[in-house]
């Protein structure tokens, strides 16, 4: 087997026995044919749509709300600098950032707690993290709508506690709450994966060398779990930035976010070029985040 391989490498294709080259070609052909249906499908239903979005982002909106594809320009990208759009972009980034930080603050201790349990308890606990991760996203957001709504359990509780009547629904706080609820598992799972791999001997060694709890966290645990922190933060930040369902259900008119704004451009405002350029920007952010992730040596879940 190895001899054949070497002969292929050393002597080159020309000198190999013909059947050998033919067999290799046939294998490669088989592989290609196997990939072809899904390859072709993704080119037609993913690559072509992606190209169309790019084309539209350079097009012009005419006064009838339609789109003129002739006369390319970067007007819709220039619009990103306008106060309204800029405010929405900033607000989206800000809320996504808050969501990520909260997820990290809750998720890190939780992942550490999870990683330090015994194998059996850990498995059970993981299952109960996975369930909300898989459960219908719309329904989970709607549950908060019920809780925060008029005369709902939340208002009842604050009244009971004597905190007075609080109206959380349709505020930015409610949106962040919904986003944290939705994306916390995305933070916990990669954090857990990276903390669980850490050699506990290193932590013990730091304690033996008179580090206190904080120092061994700061100097040993945290640096070693950085890949998990980065992965979890990206997995929280990117979907929060493009969130549409959560702000629509829990946010109000004053809390328009990027996702809703893009949708509005297509369904009501009929400014397709602007919507296309915004969704392209969103995708560019996502792609750069993913590149950072792979650069830092992260791996998929």
């Amino acid at each position: 087997m190895t001899m054949v391989d070497e002969s292929v490498k050393d002597v080159g294709v020309e000198a190999t026995p013909e059947f050998e080259a033919a067999a290799i070609r046939q294998e490669s052909q088989r592989g290609f044919l196997l990939a072809l249906p899904s390859y072709a499908y993704l080119v037609l239903f993913f690559v072509v749509p992606l190209v169309i979005v790019v084309v539209y982002s350079f097009a012009t909106r005419n006064q009838f709300g339609g789109t003129d594809l002739s006369g390319w320009n970067i007007d819709s990208y220039a619009k990103l600098g306008e106060p309204i759009v800029r405010a929405i972009l900033f607000r989206s980034v800000w809320l996504a950032l808050i969501t990520t930080v909260i997820c990290l603050m809750i998720g890190y201790p939780f992942a550490y707690f999870l990683a330090t349990r015994s194998q059996r308890i850990r498995n059970v606990m993981l299952v109960f993290v996975m369930i909300p991760f898989w459960t219908n996203f719309l329904v989970r957001n709607y549950a908060w709508r019920v809780i925060l709504g008029n005369d709902g359990p939340f208002t009842k509780t604050t009244e009971f506690l004597g905190l007075g009547e609080h109206e959380l629904l349709f505020s930015q706080t409610a949106v962040v709450l919904g986003l944290v609820y939705g994306f916390l598992p995305f933070m916990i799972l990669p954090l857990y994966a990276s903390i669980e791999r850490i050699d506990t001997g290193l932590l013990e060694a730091s304690r033996d060398l008179y580090a206190n709890g904080w120092q061994s966290f700061r100097r040993v645990l945290l640096p070693l779990s950085t890949p998990g922190v980065i992965a979890g933060s990206i997995l929280c930040f990117v979907p929060s930035l493009g969130a549409y369902v959560t702000p629509e259900i829990l946010g109000g008119a004053k809390t328009t976010l990027l996702g809703s704004y893009i949708v509005t451009q297509f369904l009501t405002a009929r400014n397709w070029p602007l919507g296309a350029s915004l969704s392209f920007v969103l995708m560019a952010i996502m792609l750069s985040a993913t590149l950072v992730y792979f650069r830092k040596g992260g791996q998929t879940l």
Binding site: S38, V139, G152
Partner: protein, 279 residues
């Protein structure tokens, strides 16, 4: 971890408290939603005694029932197609080398990481052109609806299925396949009798994932749904935006049960996989 680094005192108490709070945070809203779906009160968040009225209303509501059956049709159809295509893609990437393999590999990851809204926009713009072209060339009268919803769901599901099946294939020894081939099995026979039985838990896992994603999707479906065709999540989303009613509570709980069932099934599969897999 050994007890030497086990946090003590306050840190320990805080870690435990945080753990319980996280679970409370995850499950309390779901539990409350289930409870309120049985409440007789017209206000969605207040208790008014037990009733099954809202579930009955769901049963009597023709458009909700249509949306449910549309959802199931879309889910089944897109799952079947994406499982076949995704498994083929996984096999080609794990077992063969061919020209353009790396590009294909990268392309397969894109639908997983792309934001929902971007994909929705892509599909909307694509189908607004695609049907025009098809109708012009073939003289048909195709519109957005079942076709476009299923096509979009397949476009994102293939990737997820292939990731799950690939993970299974990667952890599997291909010596058995080689042995079968050495013993004069044809390629197809080796696949049918050796590879397929071994990767079937992966395929089933991929199928459950594809089905879950199809039944959950709101944003993309909303953009490609046409007159007469909506899925249940899109229908519910529309209702929520008009104003919350106890009917939505009942439908939500039904959707919740459906997705919980799928999760439990996939966890059971995972268990089975762990039992028979390598190591």
């Amino acid at each position: 971890m050994s007890s030497a680094v086990e946090p003590r005192g306050w840190t320990k108490a805080m870690l435990h408290a945080n753990g319980w709070m996280v679970y409370l945070f995850f499950y309390a809203p779901i539990l409350l939603l289930v409870i309120f779906s049985f409440s007789a009160s017209r206000n969605v968040g207040t208790w008014g005694g037990w009733t099954l009225d809202w579930y009955r209303e769901f049963g009597d509501n023709q458009s909700a029932r249509n949306a449910l059956s549309d959802s199931l049709k879309v889910a089944v159809f897109s799952t079947v197609v994406s499982v076949v295509l995704g498994t083929m893609a996984a096999l080609s990437l794990e077992r063969f080398t061919f020209r353009g393999k790396q590009v294909f590999d990268a392309l397969l990851y894109l639908p997983i990481i792309i934001p929902d809204v971007t994909m929705a926009v892509m599909m909307l713009l694509f189908f607004s052109q695609f049907f025009d072209v098809i109708n012009m060339v073939f003289g048909l009268n195709m519109r957005k609806g079942f076709n476009s919803i299923v096509a979009s769901h397949i476009a994102f599901s293939i990737s997820f299925v292939s990731v799950v099946v690939r993970a299974r294939l990667a952890g599997m020894d291909n010596k058995m396949e080689e042995a079968a081939l050495d013993l004069y099995a044809t390629r197809w026979k080796a696949f049918r009798h050796v590879t397929l039985p071994q990767i079937s838990p992966g395929i089933a896992g991929g199928a459950l994932l594809a089905m879950t994603l199809s039944l959950d999707d709101v944003v993309i479906t909303q953009f490609v749904a046409g007159p007469g065709w909506t899925t249940l999540p899109v229908y519910v989303f529309g209702l929520i935006r008009k104003g919350v009613t106890p009917l939505i509570n009942a439908i939500s709980v039904v959707m919740l049960i459906a997705s919980m069932t799928l999760v439990v099934l996939s966890l059971v599969l995972e268990r089975a996989r762990g039992g028979t897999g390598t190591q």
